[in-house]
Amino acid sequence: MSESTLPDYRVQSDAVRDRFARIKKRPVTMEVAGLSKTFQSRHGTVTALKDINLTIHKREFVCVIGPSGCGKSTLIRILAGLEQATEGEVKLDGKVVDKPGPERGMVFQGYTLFPWLTVKKNIMFGLIESGYDKGTAEAEARQWIELIGLSRFENSYPHQLSGGMKQRVAIARALANKPKVLLMDEPFGALDAQTRSKMQAYLMEIWKNIDVTVFFITHDLDEAIYLADRILVLKANPGEVQEVIEVAVPQPRHPEQFLSPEFIATKKRLEELIHPPKQDDDEDHLNLVRMVPVNDEVGSVF
């Protein structure tokens, strides 16, 4: 598709516009207000996040994308309560978040399944913590295992599973606690391309059917556009919101949309924001000169 025929990424069809209007009328699940985070380092104060404001509505799917070092991981860790903000606050259903809790389930890139527990017991972990008796927890866990299609593996240990299966268990483990928000920190980053697209489809399926709001961090542009209602684009040094994009690709999503004009237009916009045309002083490049004689057997690869 040539550039001239590409629509503006902001142009939404009526259905999409209506849907966003409806989303905005939903109750607010999570509210981030004036959030800043600074670290003390040897070279002085580093501002990781600066004045982040964001309102997430119930059952919305929000992706965060940004260059490395933009503080997206810090942001999700603050939302999870694993780190404290220097300024500003995070509210979940109107209550201030100050420590980790099961109502904010988290899925990490490194799976973080407990290696000494079987699939079933991993999923039971949070249920037992929230006071379920063993029998009920086990029955719940079994249901989740069924839902994620791993019934054959319920008594397997994590090291016996593939990366995709591990991440499915991690998602089920977080969802078993019936969290209001599912926080996902580059959950599919370690998976190969094929498994990753499968997992994306699974996640959409889960999101459609379960009452949960998803906050998803990624550095993969396609992944962000494919999954998100809205994309929060961060920039680095300091980590600030650059733009919040309402993805114009209609829901429900399916893989053919990767080539739709809305998708490509959004991707082009994200490219511009995240990889702006580089200045010449980029220090991170190779210094190669021709090392093959012109009259070599293969003088040029082109």
Partner: protein
């Protein structure tokens, strides 16, 4: 394939062969020195004293002394002594040590108050067992606490770090003064030798637990107590087990010193006693028994550990 590829495992056949050689080579060397008469053999065992009046049959004399006496006798035209090359008494031949493995158990003690070998060995095992058990009962919980909570780490570790440089045998006299001369001070030495290292090693192992697992636990609603009992403890268990195995090996190395304290006892008493009687075959057998016992226990624990922690990747 070459036997010397960097960081590549050997083929199974050569691996077995090399492993066996690890034991066979030293034994082969020992056999060579013992059974080939012209290798070393600095002494002569007298078979017939001849005219030398202080030689007795079966006596070991230095080769140069023997040659000098032999020359003197032949110059005087008297009967020359005869003998065969022999090694010093402190190096018995392999077959002698091998027999000693059996005979040392059946040899009756010289005095009725003294112990048989199996009783001595049992006494040693008890000293190790109680010393190590006591150390572990206190040391492992302290180590886990220090590894988990910064508070306990700051509270325990500086002092322990200092104390572990004090050599355990240095406390021998003190232990005897406080605990008497029998088993108690020996157990105390094993304890001192093990405990301080144990706390530090266990604390380190605990700190090495993947912090992401703790964070995952927190986001699943685990409270402080569950974090310790449902994540930290099960998470470090395989490493804790491995540490304990290694530390048990260290405890064995303190055994000889410990048993010399107060009234000498156990396998150490047996060894010193047999050396006094010049039964060096028994001495060698007893030393090897310690090695075999230690290795056997370690292999048993290793085998058991593989069954205990099925979630560990086989590597």
């Amino acid at each position: 394939m070459s036997l010397f590829s960097v960081n590549k495992p050997l083929e199974p056949r050569s691996r077995q062969l090399v492993t066996i050689s690890s034991f066979v080579l030293p034994i082969l060397l020992w056999c060579l020195v013992s059974y080939v008469p012209f290798i070393w053999h600095p002494e002569v065992e007298i078979t017939s004293p001849g005219s030398v009046n202080y030689f007795r049959e079966g006596m070991l004399v230095n080769k140069t002394v023997f040659n000098a006496e032999s020359d003197k006798a032949s110059a005087a035209g008297k009967a020359t002594p005869e003998g065969i090359p022999a090694n010093p008494i402190y190096l018995p031949a392999p077959h002698e040590v091998l027999t000693a493995f059996y005979t040392s158990f059946t040899t009756e003690p010289k005095r009725s108050s003294e112990l048989w070998l199996h009783e001595s060995l049992w006494s040693s095992i008890q000293v190790i067992f109680y010393g190590f058990l006591l150390s572990s009962i206190i040391g492992i919980p302290l180590g886990v606490l220090a590894g988990t909570y910064d508070f306990f780490s700051r509270l325990f570790e500086p002092f322990i770090e200092f104390f572990r440089y004090l050599p355990a045998p240095a406390f021998g006299a003190l232990a005897v003064a406080v605990l008497g001369i029998y088993q108690a001070p020996k157990i105390a030495i094993i304890f001192i030798g093990t405990f301080f290292q144990q706390v530090l090693i266990v604390a380190n192992t605990t700190r090495k637990l993947d912090p992401a697992l703790l964070e995952a636990g927190q986001t699943l609603g685990a409270n402080n107590r569950s974090m310790l009992f449902r994540i930290v403890l099960p998470g470090i268990l395989p490493d804790l087990y491995r540490d304990t195995r290694i530390l048990l090996g260290w405890a064995w190395t303190y055994l000889i010193v410990a048993e010399l304290i107060g009234t000498s006892s156990g396998i150490t008493w047996f060894i010193t006693q047999q050396a006094r009687y010049k039964n060096f075959d028994n001495v060698f057998a007893a030393i090897m028994m310690i090695g075999i016992l230690g290795l056997t226990i370690d292999l048993l624990l290793a085998w058991f550990g593989r069954r205990l922690f099925p979630w560990q990747k086989a590597n």
